[in-house]
């Protein structure tokens, strides 16, 4: 999801891509949460992880 997720049409398209059809009322209800989430997710790009391999095994031993 891009930074312009505050746009209702973008939310609609995002939901459709994920396989859901939600009403505009339902989308309006989640808009603040999605916006906060988008900010947190974009901040991940600032983490020093360029050379870090993602976790694929959750148990260490």
């Amino acid at each position: 999801m891009n930074d312009d997720a505050s746009d209702l049409d973008t939310l609609r398209r995002g939901a459709r891509l994920a396989g859901f059809t939600w009403s505009d009322t339902e989308l309006e209800e989640i808009r603040p949460m999605v916006m906060a989430g988008v900010r947190a997710l974009h901040a991940l790009e600032a983490a020093p992880i360029a050379e870090v391999e993602p976790t694929t095994r959750y148990r260490t031993v």
Binding site: A18, A40, L41
Partner: protein, 463 residues
């Protein structure tokens, strides 16, 4: 539980009496506290009578023989409904027990009932509009949050409606209610305890564990539950130690890293001062305390959101398409927000997870445990939306999970223990975090703390 187990095994008290006392207390307080969804009164009494008969016949007994306990209502129980705190599963009756349910029964424990929780374990406040909001027993005047998602588990143990319970923890759901309700809760290492037959929230972050009155009780329950399970591929083949045997009370030389920065700076002043005092008490008992700063913690929130949001939506997608109106509206909104996490962001979350795990491992390379507050605040009132933390204003949900999620991402074991009270008389909790599969040291430290203090012995005054 340890004391009850001893008294039952030596026939100082009958399991029937013990079960009946708890059922009477549940009957008297349930309407007010809302800690149970289902009470198994007849089955519990029948099991207690059978346990008593076995004792009188001199048959060998398990370590929890005749000791009652209760389960968060997401553990499958054969023939007993398991709702996940949801109306959608309100009539769901599993045919088989979860692995841990079966193991506790084999150890002789008696199930009192199924405990209230946040719907599908998705929320830290402990609210549930379907079965009633569990009430924190420490404030009779004002309805305060029990903490979640294992809200009923926290309330039942704190209020004496069960001597022990099981919770589950994806972002703090054992440690948050333990902290807010003034009890002891252990999130074991990822892979230490089987999740088979436990409704998932996010497979890669879910941990199951005990919530009790003391570290000794957690040790007793963990030993009975832990170990490899063919039904859960994430479980380890490492042997299960006798956790009770390491509870010596000796803290001399225990290396404790007090987590500053993200943790202590983020706590409300009263919480920060209490945990700093606890560190001094541990040092006075011979522990070697130093300070640590984990610099990658600010990325934990985004990583958790990417992973939990995606996994939770994947699990509930079909229900959300067909039964959306039957969800708690708040839970439905959180699930929907997961649709906006991209595949790349999910992988970024897993990269951060590797980074965080490595950083916690590094901090524990020269230390036995890390020490931090369990929650940055005491129990807020149920209508609280924002709280003031040490480093600014935060929404209450983010505040409650803040100190817990790092160790769900990393998988390290963490035990929340009571560490003091606010001026208003509300309990505060601190967590002790250990190396993977070293629950023994975590429990030894927690037990050592509890031999120095009496916070875990205090109980709310109820009618």
């Amino acid at each position: 539980m340890t004391e009850l187990a001893r008294m039952i095994a030596t026939k100082a008290v009958s399991p029937v009496e013990v079960v009946r006392v708890h059922l009477d207390r549940i009957a008297g307080l349930h309407r007010d506290l809302r800690s149970y969804i289902t009470v198994c009164d007849e089955a519990a009494l029948a099991a207690a009578r059978a346990a008593e008969a076995e004792l009188m016949a001199g048959r060998g007994v398990g370590p929890l023989h005749g000791v009652p306990y209760a389960l968060k209502d997401l553990y499958d129980t054969a023939g007993i409904r398991t709702t996940g705190g949801s109306r959608i599963l309100g009539d769901r009756v599993p045919e088989a027990d979860a692995t841990v349910t079966r193991r506790l029964a084999q150890a002789g424990a008696i199930l009192l009932g199924k405990l209230n929780m946040v719907e599908f374990a998705y929320g830290p406040e402990g609210l549930n509009p379907h079965y009633g909001h569990a009430r924190n027993p420490w404030d009779r005047a004002v309805h305060r949050m029990a903490g979640g998602s294992s809200s009923g588990s926290g309330v039942a143990v704190a209020a004496g409606l069960a001597p022990g319970s099981l919770g589950s923890d994806t972002g703090g759901s054992i440690r948050i209610p333990s902290s807010l309700c003034g009890i002891t809760g252990l999130k074991p290492t990822y892979g230490r305890v089987s999740r088979a037959g436990v409704l998932p929230l996010a497979w890669s972050m879910d941990h199951v564990g005990p919530m009790t009155r003391s570290a000794a009780d957690c040790a007793l329950m963990l030993r009975a539950m832990a170990g490899y399970d063919a039904a859960d591929a994430s479980t380890s083949v490492l042997p299960v130690p006798d956790y009770g045997a390491v509870l010596t009370g000796d803290l001399k030389g225990l290396r404790v890293g007090l987590l500053r920065g993200f943790f202590l700076d983020g706590a409300a002043p009263e919480v920060r001062a209490t945990v700093e005092t606890a560190a001094r008490v541990l040092a006075s008992a011979g522990a070697v305390v130093d300070e640590v700063n984990l610099e990658h913690m600010p990325h934990v929130g985004g990583a958790s959101l990417a992973i939990v949001g995606s996994e939770a939506l994947a699990y509930h997608a079909e229900r959300l398409r067909t039964r959306a109106g039957d969800f708690d509206p708040d839970v439905a909104r959180r699930l929907r927000a997961g649709a906006y996490v991209t595949g790349v962001q999910y992988v970024r979350g897993q990269q951060v997870r590797a980074l965080v795990r490595e950083e916690v491992d590094r901090a524990l390379a020269r230390r036995d445990v890390l020490l931090a507050p369990s929650t940055p605040i005491a129990a807020p009132t149920i209508d609280t939306r924002q709280v003031e933390l040490g480093d600014g204003l935060s929404d209450v949900r983010t505040a409650l999970v803040r100190f817990n999620r790092p160790f769900n991402l990393s998988g390290h074991p963490s035990c929340s223990v009571p560490c003091g009270f606010t001026a208003a008389g509300l309990p505060l909790g601190m967590q002790l975090v250990g190396r993977p599969f070293d629950e023994a040291t975590v429990l030894r430290a927690a037990d050592g703390w509890q031999r120095l203090t009496d916070f875990h012995m205090r109980h709310p005054v109820l009618g």
